[in-house]
Symmetry: C2
Subunit: 322 residues, 2 copies
């Protein structure tokens, strides 16, 4: 297929087109991703998350700048929880990212999380696969660290950076939002402001509480002033250190094996659901849905009866259903 060829040649317009297909849940997406699949696994994925106002976009912008200075091609996926799911193309680049807009070596795309209903992780995974497939060497994923759907997106990252500002509220609150567990690197931004060093000390104290064996990565706590580019190189250095650590311990490949397994599981569950939807619209399952709607039986009884019957078997058998 033409689009796949263009993707594998690194064509940006093909990438834009393919991402739009992902956003629309187009039926061609599996074929496209399957075709580029052997090329995947080359890009290094970095996630940046943290509470609203912590300076995620500024840090992301500066990190992209450093990567570009090293001549890496860069893809960036910005998750925008406040925008409709498929608004990526309309939203376009965020304002602070616009300095990169004319740089051919950077491709930035926004993805909205609204309306995704669990599809955001999948869409993000597919978009970074497309970027990986066209040969982007570094991929940055930025998302706000509020809400489970938004945090789940970070599963795809090799290295996750959690950034906080001294005024972004109680450290403990931030930690409780689940950021503690996913951070490979902590960054306290706006290091010139009051409370920054206290926040860094608090995070270090909380990290001390966690038991780790000698082999485990110990997340560093860095300070920076992203908007003045102070400390950003150190953040990038910590990303490189974490990458080396993962590779030395074969953890990067282990992580990716886990993602692949997860992806197959998700696909099987989704295909199953789609087959059920088809059948529910015009088939034998509909009787059960109707009885459940009318409260004649509970969904639990109906599910048991369906699994005990031949209905799903027939549904899954292409010969019998046709």
């Amino acid at each position: 297929m033409e689009l796949v060829d263009s993707l594998l040649k690194g064509d940006r317009r093909a990438l834009a087109k393919a991402i739009t297909l992902v956003e629309n849940g187009d039926a061609e997406v599996p074929m496209i991703l399957s075709a580029i699949y052997p090329k995947l696994g080359r890009a290094y994925m970095v996630g940046i998350t943290g509470p609203p106002g912590a300076g995620k976009s500024t840090l992301a912008d500066k990190i992209i700048g450093l990567w570009r200075a090293q001549k890496y091609s860069v893809g960036a996926v910005l998750i925008d929880p406040s925008s409709p799911f498929s608004g990526g193309a309309i939203l376009g680049d965020r304002i602070r990212m616009q300095q990169h807009a004319l740089d051919e070596g950077v491709y930035i795309r926004s993805l909205g999380s609204r309306g995704s209903h669990g599809g955001l992780s999948r869409a993000t995974r597919q978009v970074v696969q497309l970027m990986d497939g066209v040969g982007m060497e570094r991929i940055l994923i930025e998302t706000v660290g509020v809400g489970q759907t938004e945090l789940d997106v970070m599963d795809v990252a090799d290295t996750t950076v959690v950034i906080m500002g001294p005024e972004s509220g109680d450290t403990i609150q931030t930690m409780k939002a689940g950021l503690m567990e996913i951070a490979d690197i902590f960054v306290v931004n706006k290091a010139d402001r009051e409370g920054a060093s206290r926040m860094a000390a608090e995070i270090r104290a909380m990290l001390e509480l966690k038991e780790r064996n000698g082999e485990e990565w110990r997340p560093p706590v860095l300070s920076c002033q992203a908007n003045a580019s102070v400390g950003v190189e150190e953040v990038n250095g910590a990303i490189s250190s974490h990458r080396s650590f993962l590779e030395e311990h074969d953890l990067r490949e282990a992580h990716r094996r886990g993602l692949r397994r997860h992806e197959l599981m998700e696909l099987l569950a989704r295909y199953f659901r789609e087959k059920m939807m088809d059948s529910a619209n015009n088939g034998a399952l509909e009787t059960f849905f109707n009885r459940v709607e009318k409260m004649e039986i509970s969904p639990y009884e109906a599910a048991d009866l369906i699994f005990q019957s031949n209905l799903l078997k027939n549904l899954l058998n292409p010969q019998l259903t046709k």
Copy 2:
């Protein structure tokens, strides 16, 4: 079963125990919910959501007080995004709710959203079913209006109240977070503060932009000072008006039919996934998972091959798999 009998007698300790089973994903939950299923559909479900700091808990507290004055038994589910999923029992009631703690007619339970990975909606649905089953007449669900997982919880509510404070930030931002679409009633809290009337006017202006046919509910925009109990009766009155509207137009039953259908679909997908998990650990599917892990084939190819094979059919057939 004893627990079911106690639940149907309205026993609070049985309710507490059953909720803990839901939180732990206990295997007995389907049986319990199935047994109480014929009793469901009596409670009226009200959701309260909005940005952090808007005054959700205060309003919830006052609404519960009004319902208690009307002698309704009340259940409340407080979703706490900052706490671990199964920490409900440890968290206990929130501080502002403690005035109701000694009231036998009120049952309050916190549910954490962390670690739920899509299970929060299910857990909430099951907890409100238990509360409905024991005979609670009014059920209040409170969740922060940030993040898709947290908002999805509101699907269960008959009436959704969105509360905002004049300082809770840009109205447009709040609206963009998806609250506009789910609100049946808007409440501007802290009505004595600067910006409150402007905010109410902005919301009304945004509502005007939405086209509605003559039959559709038009969300009212109310003002209140929840902590001083000012305007809370009007909010409760609007809830009653919305309920009457739903019932006159047969929309409440339609909503519940949709929930029941959704629930059966979720159950079938979950059972399917569990069966796959079993098989993936010790069966024929594992070969495919291994090949995908090693990147020998893409997950898409593997899923197609699995669906074309007899693997899933055998998996779903209890006779053949045993």
